[in-house]
């Protein structure tokens, strides 16, 4: 077991956080920082490709606009279950045969769903026999999953058991109350429950797949040791059997919540605290001001104000940080920490004071300079492996960011001013809309 000095947010969160923080670059070079090739496949899927000949492997992500936000009401958990069961069977192959085929060629396949996206990834060697076999199976799981009833019964049982376990954990209760507090009845505010998972039937999976797995909703990101022609063929192979389809349905707007504090009693030794509000969607003009500002507030690892006030000066928590997750619609702004239950109110007061002061005075000029020098100077770390570049390609594609997004990023970070940060935080973090959730000590709000 390895234990680290600072716990980073859970993987999915971290990913979202990085994707936001990621796309930085210092200057505007004549050549592209990352030579991204982009085209639309004959199927209609949008493709983003980078050639990386150094290692004889390829990484592929097929991203569908088919995330959990499209779960029908009372069927939360459907998108995740669809993702998890794509490889449960295709005509002529059961789950065992699919798993064996991939293992026999050393390929690695994964699938998961977030609020916005349903993503299937494939990592394969580029030797022709291996790659061809990996693509053949993966294509079948995308276009013709059979969702066998027996597997569904089993997976439902497993998910229900995991849900019941999660329900005993303060972090789960906090996350659920926080989602509801921020988003109310908007799909971003829903989460899987025993009832919603019990309700999932084969017809729901089949229907979800039919409605949302289409080429028009797909982005294919590819990086690896293959040429453009091969990449074109791969993208078409993976999406050519899908229906053309249409754009995803438009969801209701996110409404600013009324804020307030919710306390849930729990006997754990630490209280779990979440404070936040709906933040921004991709493309928000304040994105860069918020990125730089949040670095100062709680995003910058060991040097943020929250880290300094809560942990370094007072020893009140091991883990404390803040982040924005931009989504298709405004994703959350979150401050998160855990502290010994007896000192819950002390820690909460310190966080509130730190946030209030930040919202009132903004960051100092020196803090903003330090933030920029970290974000810009650290840019190459965000694209120094195929895996990281794949994530960037998927992000640019899925959120329809311009191809020069990376090139322009550093200038946009550099251009941020103290005043812009203060104004952006004032626009997006209204004190009266801040939702506070405390799971642990005390059932009543402290004030």
């Amino acid at each position: 077991m390895l234990i680290t000095r600072f716990p980073f947010p859970s993987v999915s969160r971290l990913l979202a956080f990085l994707m936001f923080a990621v796309l930085t670059l210092a200057a505007m070079p004549a050549r592209a920082v990352l030579p991204i090739e982009h085209w639309t496949a004959p199927s209609g899927a949008r493709v983003y490709f980078v050639r990386a000949p150094a290692i004889p492997m390829v990484d592929i992500a097929v991203v569908f606009d088919a995330g959990a936000r499209l779960d029908p009401p009372a069927k939360s958990g459907l998108a995740s279950l669809v993702a998890g069961m794509l490889d449960a069977g295709v005509p002529g192959m059961d789950e065992e045969a699919i798993a064996r085929t991939l293992a026999d060629i050393g390929a690695q396949r994964g699938a998961s769903a977030t609020d916005d996206r349903l993503t299937v990834t494939l990592r394969s060697l580029t030797s022709e026999a291996e790659l061809a076999a990996a693509l053949r199976v993966t294509e079948r799981t995308l276009s013709a999953p059979t969702f066998p009833a027996a597997v569904l019964t089993r997976e439902r049982e497993r998910i229900l058991q995991a849900l019941r376990e999660a329900q005993t954990k303060p972090e789960t209760l906090a996350q659920q109350a926080f989602s509801s507090g921020l988003y109310g009845s908007h799909p971003y505010g829903r989460y899987a429950t025993e009832a919603s998972v019990q309700a999932l039937q084969v017809a729901d999976l089949t229907d979800f797949h039919k409605r949302h797995f289409s080429a028009a909703r797909a982005v294919v990101a590819i990086i690896g040791d293959i040429d453009r022609a091969r990449a074109e063929a791969i993208a078409q192979q993976l999406t050519g059997q899908l229906p053309k389809g249409q754009a995803a349905p438009v969801l209701p707007a996110v409404v600013r919540p009324s804020g307030g504090e919710r306390r849930i009693a729990h006997p754990a030794s630490q209280s779990h605290l979440l404070i936040g509000t709906p933040g921004i969607a991709w493309g928000d003009p304040d994105q860069f001001a918020l990125l730089v500002g949040n670095y100062v507030l709680g995003g910058g690892g060991f040097v943020s104000r929250l880290y300094g006030e809560v942990r370094e000066k007072r020893g009140l928590a091991y883990s404390v940080y803040s982040y924005f997750i931009p989504n298709l619609q405004p994703g959350p702004f979150v401050i998160s920490l855990q502290t010994q239950r007896e000192q819950t109110d002390t820690a909460l007061a310190v966080v509130r004071e730190t946030l209030t002061r930040f919202l009132r005075d903004g960051p100092t000029e020196a803090e903003v300079q330090a933030a920029k020098s970290n974000l810009v100077g650290g840019f190459p770390l965000r694209i120094d492996s195929n895996r990281k570049i794949l994530d960037n390609l998927a992000n640019i594609g899925f959120n329809r960011l311009p191809l020069d997004y990376l090139e322009r990023w550093p200038d946009r970070v550099q251009a941020v001013t103290v005043e812009q940060i203060r104004a952006a935080f004032a626009r997006h973090l209204k004190p009266e809309s801040l939702v506070t959730v405390v799971v642990g000590a005390g059932a009543q709000p402290a004030r």
Binding site: I3, P29, E96, I105, G106, F302, A317, D411
Partner: protein, 451 residues
């Protein structure tokens, strides 16, 4: 902005193998330097590892290795508290540190132009650390929060903690790396200082630099920084060999949870001699056979066919300074018990002991190992971690290829042989989680965890 800056960020997506060229040096003070080249991107990972982990701790002072790791950020005679992190951040760096049973490590990932500064800062805190009572009093509270977060409120962590505390009697592997809570409560700044003075010496450390660098330049920097620090005599390490277990040990843990769970640990050897050893390689293959992704027998048979478990895992780490332990873990399916899953997991091993392993299954496992070797090249950081782990455990980083070769050479008969010999009752420890309702009253903690 200047094109010069742009060049710094340009990705070198050049053709040619990325297989890292590795160079080794030994500084005159006994500090080993390893440089792994990867010129795909202008970044570098800089790591210093100390051969000092919780295995080197003594009773009453558990957790001190990890506490010292936290204190390493609290300032030196040259730089104030927090200054290390501020400087690394302003260089665009990412950093962290980690403590395990076997070692403590510190790393920064940066643009290559920042390497010299990182080496200056890291070598400074190797010998210049200021351990003040005031900073210690705050940081020990942070570490106690970490223990609560990591262990106290997590049923599965409590189960693992009890497994180690029961399976090991004499070996320091019995104590958690984060430390027992009471040891943290009783810890003093002098304990931290004693640890630092004992183990933080260049001749007990390893430097690894991986990324877009030239070995000669790294060596020159290393000589100017770490190379100036004097070697110090290191204390003798007591072997603390775990005596043979003489019979089954069975323990229950009550903790707030919903799902029951069972963990089994069997004493097995760790790798000591890359050429002569056979069993560790066979055990490695056995664990993969049982639980490597969805094709492993546990998922295939216990989760899917028999529906006795909702999750079942096997784990074995052959690279470790201390004794080996082969782990089996399972969460029973609805309507099944921990006894059922325990029996089912042991039946899978018994089956391999009787029937051996079909060649196609063995081949499938090995194919995945081989592919993983290629995939590994995508992360220079992961390669550096692996190399450091080998070195700090007493192997050489270049043993890596030979170890893989030995794993690939494992035969069906060898897997069958270890399945026969190591999985009896007498060297087994079983810990069962008895879920307690999450009520207004706190469930009683297991004995020994709190005072």
């Amino acid at each position: 902005m200047a094109a010069g800056i742009a060049c710094l960020f340009m990705l070198a997506l050049v053709a040619g193998p990325a297989g890292a060229q590795t160079t080794e040096y030994m500084l005159t003070n006994g500090m080993k330097v390893i440089v792994k080249e990867d010129h795909r991107a202008p970044t570098v990972a800089h790591m210093v590892w100390y051969r000092a982990g919780s295995i080197d701790e003594v009773n009453g002072k558990t957790g001190v290795a990890h506490l010292l790791e936290h204190m390493m950020f609290k300032g030196t005679r040259e730089f104030g508290a927090g200054e290390f992190s501020k400087r690394i951040a302003s260089l665009g760096g990412r950093e962290n540190a980690f403590t395990s049973r076997d070692y403590t490590g510190y790393y920064q990932q940066l643009h290559k132009s920042a390497l010299a500064e990182a080496m200056k800062l890291e070598s400074d805190r190797m010998h210049n650390l200021v351990l003040s009572k005031e900073e210690f009093e705050k940081e020990i509270k942070v570490v106690m929060e970490e223990r609560r977060w990591r262990t106290e409120d997590r049923a599965q962590s409590l189960v693992m903690e009890q497994l180690n505390a029961t399976a090991f009697v004499a070996s320091p592997y019995r104590a958690p790396t984060v430390g027992w809570m009471n040891d943290l409560e009783a810890m003093t700044v002098d304990d931290a200082r004693e640890w630092y003075e004992r183990w933080y010496a260049p001749n007990n450390a390893l430097l690894i630099v991986a990324g877009d660098v030239q070995p000669a330049e790294v060596l020159a920097l290393a000589e100017r920084t770490y190379g100036r620090l004097p070697a110090r005599p290191l204390p003798a390490r007591k072997p603390q060999i775990e005596p043979p277990q003489r019979g089954l040990r069975r323990v229950a843990v009550k903790a707030p949870a919903d799902n029951p769970m069972v963990v089994m640990g069997f004493h097995v050897p760790a790798l000591r001699d890359v050429e002569r050893d056979v069993d560790p390689y066979a055990l490695e293959v056995l664990s993969a056979m049982l639980a490597l992704n969805d094709t492993g027998r546990f998922t295939r048979r216990l989760v899917r066919e028999q529906r006795v478990a909702n999750a079942a895992e096997a784990g074995y780490d052959m690279i470790s300074r201390g004794p080996g332990l082969f782990l089996l873990m399972a969460v029973p399916a609805e309507g099944r018990t921990t006894e059922d899953t325990e029996r089912a997991m042991r039946a899978e091993i018994a089956r391999i002991a009787t029937e051996g392993v079909p060649e196609d299954e063995l081949k499938r496992i090995k194919t995945q190992y081989v592919a993983a070797e290629t995939y590994k090249l995508d992360s220079i950081f992961a390669q550096a971690m692996e190399a450091a782990q080998l070195e700090i455990t007493g192997f050489a980083q270049r043993d890596d290829a030979r170890i893989l070769e030995r794993v690939r050479g494992v035969s069906s008969a060898q897997v069958q042989d270890v399945a026969r010999r190591y999985f009896g009752d007498d060297t087994l420890t079983v810990v069962t989680l008895l879920p307690q309702p999450v009520g207004e009253k706190r469930a009683a903690p297991p004995a020994g965890l709190r005072h």
